[in-house]
């Protein structure tokens, strides 16, 4: 969805003066709020060994499907495992998948996009491949990639990265194509600057702002896709307590034990919302022209 959002505002004409210097919180309340929520959730998952009330894999056949209580903050699952402990440990997997996919897809997409935007020969081939990849619905492509490999966190990361790369490539390429026509790049070419130097010194730095925004969106999307893959049984191996897996296990018991799905689900929602808010806010901060219109 994000590249559709980014394509539209280019036609805009509104030149907005930079906002007066104010406190970070007042200028970008949503970025601060999002970053804060994300930081808290990250800290909770990092501190899982100290915050967990018991081992996330510890089975207690007597205390099965117990509702939330003082002993089990978020209740227990069908095997009597503590949902709170599983949820905060599971957050580690989901957050790691989000962050690693975000960085990996951005780095690879940036490289491919730079080459594609700067070399006409590569462009023709690369963009057709990207068009093809983007024509397959993201979740389906990830499912298909997962279906041919042995499930592991590593293959989940690779599958989601492959799905997300074309979005980065398109973005970087469009920025490079605009920059290539700029007078200062022309001047550099005339001055005899080597292409590699032009790309790294003059073009690369200008792609970073939109790329950072895109990275946050990819991070958010990757966490959602991971949960969906696990939920459908095509993701992280079942023995790993990722948020998606906890919810997948809770499916059959939803009518009697809704906390199995709702606690990791809402936490995941809060995380993704926080990351999206940071992305929206950053987009506003880095490109005020778009911010007004979005």
């Amino acid at each position: 969805m994000t590249d559709a959002l980014q394509q539209v505002p280019l036609a805009g004409q509104a030149g907005v003066l930079s906002p007066p210097q104010r406190g970070l919180l007042r200028r970008y309340p949503m970025v601060v709020l999002g970053a804060l929520v994300f930081a808290v959730i990250l800290l909770i998952t990092l501190a899982a060994p100290w915050l967990a009330s018991q081992d996330p894999q510890e089975i207690d056949p007597i205390a099965r499907l117990r509702p939330p209580s003082a002993e089990h903050l978020l209740g227990t699952d069908a095997l009597g495992r503590d949902v709170w402990s599983r949820t905060i440990y599971g957050g580690r997997i989901s957050l790691m998948v989000g962050l690693v996919v975000g960085l990996l897809a951005s780095a690879l997409g940036l490289t491919i996009g730079l080459v594609s935007g700067y070399s006409r020969v590569a462009d023709a081939i690369v963009m057709r491949v990207m068009d093809g990849l983007m024509s397959i619905p993201a979740i389906l492509l990830a499912i298909a990639l997962m279906s041919v490999t042995r499930a592991s966190i590593f293959t989940v990361i690779i599958a989601i990265t492959v799905v997300e790369i074309p979005r980065v490539v398109r973005l970087v390429r469009s920025v490079v194509l605009t920059l290539r026509e700029q007078t200062y790049v022309e001047a550099a070419v005339i001055a005899g600057t080597r292409p590699a130097r032009i790309v790294f010194k003059h073009i690369l730095p200008n792609t970073l702002a939109p790329l950072i925004v895109q990275t946050t969106y990819i991070c958010a999307a990757a966490m959602l896709v991971e949960s969906i893959l696990s939920f459908l049984g095509a993701g992280t191996p079942p023995e790993v307590p990722s948020w998606g897996n906890i919810m997948a296990e809770g499916r059959t018991f939803f009518q009697i034990a809704p906390w199995l799905i709702l606690s990791p689900g809402l936490l995941l929602g809060a995380t993704v919302l926080a990351v999206n808010l940071v992305g929206d806010g950053l987009r506003g901060a880095l490109d005020p022209r778009i911010a007004r219109r979005m």
Binding site: A4, S135, P137, I143, T149, L232, G233, G265, V272, R293
Partner: protein, 313 residues
């Protein structure tokens, strides 16, 4: 314009070709032996060899691709490994629920998103604006199945309004059909409305800043006429375009929604196919969905030309 039309339609062919290559490559270039994957975890080497020769996997890759492409061209998507039925027949059987769901969801999505976008633009930068837009982003931030279970919990289990699961074919009556589709469409609509709401808000803001809107306002036009007749009508092009994009995006969500609500559509077919490693079915569904996606994008592009007389190619 007809030249543009022809060029645009021709341009979809290489994309479809790439899709076919990608779909083929996923199975054949993946690490691991496809024959071993298809034969299952407990297959003997002999069984694996049988599968390999039966599916022609022992032949050179380009030959396999040529054979596969040839049968695709004649409308043959292969035979399901699991049920031994032609994939095309399986797809045809599952078509109705998926198409129904996509159509009702599009309606729900537009009915939710466009008013939200209009209201947000009308009250831009107020708490109303922030509230409705955050709500829209919230829907997008929750996994689809969590939205589904929240709705099931709130509307189906607590009040017994709608059926929790299942699908009623259209030929058994419109009432039951619609009733079964309310929760799934609402789920998908809530998940994807953010995109349309944002573009609606953005293009409404753009239009509302134009001079003729000020003129209309100074003539004493009420907000309803001003917003709908004057502003929305002129903001329609990007909105209609993004609705098309939204429908294309929905296709992925359909897979999950059908799975949660036990709707026997194409999405459910592919999820079952993963669990049984039924590759011809997975390939068929990928091809069908991608084909629909490409055609939808084509229609969106052509719509642009029809809707906005200023665009000429």
């Amino acid at each position: 314009m007809y030249g543009y039309l022809a060029r645009r339609i021709l341009a979809t062919l290489p994309v479809l070709g790439i899709v076919a290559i990608v779909v083929f490559a996923i199975l054949h270039l993946s690490p691991g032996d496809p024959a071993a994957l298809i034969a299952g975890d407990h297959a003997t080497p002999q069984q694996i060899a049988e599968v390999r020769s039966k599916l022609g996997l022992d032949r050179p890759l380009y030959e396999q691709f040529a054979v596969w492409l040839g049968s695709l061209a004649s409308g043959d998507l292969g035979v399901s490994i699991f049920s031994n039925q032609p994939v095309t027949r399986l797809l045809a059987q599952r078509m109705e629920p998926t198409i129904s769901l996509t159509i009702t969801t599009t309606i729900v999505m537009v009915l939710l998103a466009v008013p939200i976008g209009v209201i947000a633009a009308w009250r831009a930068d107020t708490w109303i604006d922030h509230a409705v837009m955050t709500l829209a982003v919230l829907g997008f931030s929750l996994p689809i199945f969590v939205v589904a279970y929240l709705l099931i919990y709130g509307l189906a289990m607590t009040w017994d309004f709608f059926p929790v699961q299942g699908y009623a074919p259209l030929r058994d009556g419109v009432g039951a059909w619609a009733n079964h589709l309310v929760l799934p469409s609402l789920t998908l609509g809530l998940s994807f409305m953010a995109l349309i709401a944002r573009i609606t808000r953005a293009s409404m803001l753009e239009v509302l800043s134009q001079d003729y809107i000020r003129t209309a306002r100074s003539k004493g036009l009420g907000p309803r006429q001003l917003l709908i007749d004057h502003a929305l009508a002129n903001a329609a092009v990007p909105i209609v375009t993004i609705i098309g994009v939204g429908v294309a995006l929905l296709l992925g969500g359909v897979v999950v929604t059908e799975s949660v609500f036990a709707i026997p559509g194409i999405g459910r077919l592919v999820v079952d196919a993963i669990l049984t490693r039924d590759y011809p079915v997975i390939q068929g569904v990928l091809l069908i969905f991608s084909g629909v996606y490409v055609v939808l994008n084509l229609i969106i592009d052509l719509f642009y030309v029809v809707l906005d007389p200023r665009i000429r190619y």
